[in-house]
Symmetry: C2
Subunit: 216 residues, 2 copies
Amino acid sequence: MTTLSDTLFQSTLGSIYSGELPPGAEVNEAVLAERFGVSRGPVREAVRRLQGIGLVSREPYMRAMVVSLSPGEVRELFEMREALEGMACRLAALRMSDADLDRFAADLESARLARQDAGPHAPAPSDFDFHERIIVASGNGRIAATLCGDLYHLLRVYRRRSGAVRERSDEAHAEHWQILRALRARDGELAESLMRAHVARASRQVTQRLREMDGA
Amino acid sequence: MTTLSDTLFQSTLGSIYSGELPPGAEVNEAVLAERFGVSRGPVREAVRRLQGIGLVSREPYMRAMVVSLSPGEVRELFEMREALEGMACRLAALRMSDADLDRFAADLESARLARQDAGPHAPAPSDFDFHERIIVASGNGRIAATLCGDLYHLLRVYRRRSGAVRERSDEAHAEHWQILRALRARDGELAESLMRAHVARASRQVTQRLREMDGA
DNA sequence: TTCTGCCAAAGTGTCAACACAATGACCGTT
DNA sequence: AACGGTCATTGTGTTGACACTTTGGCAGAA
């Protein structure tokens, strides 16, 4: 069973992702209610949920707005991701089965081949799949929910904004294999370090892009 | 300005902390609404916020319940806290000013003296103060909000439940000084390791207590 | 006795209207 | 012309009623 507020939550999330509601845009309950042909009640709940995951900021009696992250806040986001995804990687090294790791390796290689065939302009779902696989395999549902939920939502908006997605795909792939080797060696310490470095590099790229955009 | 749903959120949080609403208890919108003399609307929002921070679980059309964490989920909580608080400690080592560190050391010592004077049965706010100070000093508002908000709320319920608060106060104090020394040495790496070990020890104590309680 | 299907009770989801706070324009004063 | 106060407008907070879903018990059949 899915309620109206669920639907509205998803739809509004989509509007934010697509840029239809860019950072800083006002979120008017009545407007949303009319657009979707429902009353304001479910809209309120959806907006509150968006506020809960940090995508919308709101004060009592003030208009709600799509959050507009400063470069510093983007940095904070990546620091948090670095900590959590590093820990997830360490846990995965201890908890993934050998069979899981073999399947993982096979999927990683076939994803690379598929991307190569499709050319450089195809959508690249494989990057997040790599991270998501490890996160889920960590066996820590709470970390997974945070990384794949709140943080992912926010980072997704700013990755799109900065266009910093494609660039590093070759280096990223090499780093992914390095991490995978650490997982297979059951070296949690190393796997954590590698993942943290990997995330930190992505962070540097995005923040640099944002600075350039600010300057331009 | 504070709205009704804000008030209800805080009050219900208090009811959960105090044990009046223990883990597993049903959260009935109409009952809460009548108790506080308001309509169901603000109650719904408050319950949704509690759901948002993970203190209440809810499915459409199902009664809401105060979450009842399994020992495994408590472990997950501590793993996440270890990762985040470790990172916060590393950042604090890089970002705290010398003056901050001096004040911090003085406060830590005076808190110990106060606790010694008050005897072993006085409330011990100093433990969390230590952690909170470092977390805030990390300069990462997002990590701070997570640790001092969501995670703290949940851990607080289970620390109370397990009664594992007082026990380690002497060891904990020694570990706190060790961490402080690392901060003053500006050794982020070491500070992070020490904090992670410190949290991990607390985790082991709480999970062991919970197991004992389960057995008894 | 046990199982199945139905029914009433309880509880949540949704709605439309009303109450209150904030914003911005208008007007009189200095 | 610039400043400060007043008021309509806009939008959020709150309410009570109605619609829908779930739940638990009851009656009847196997």
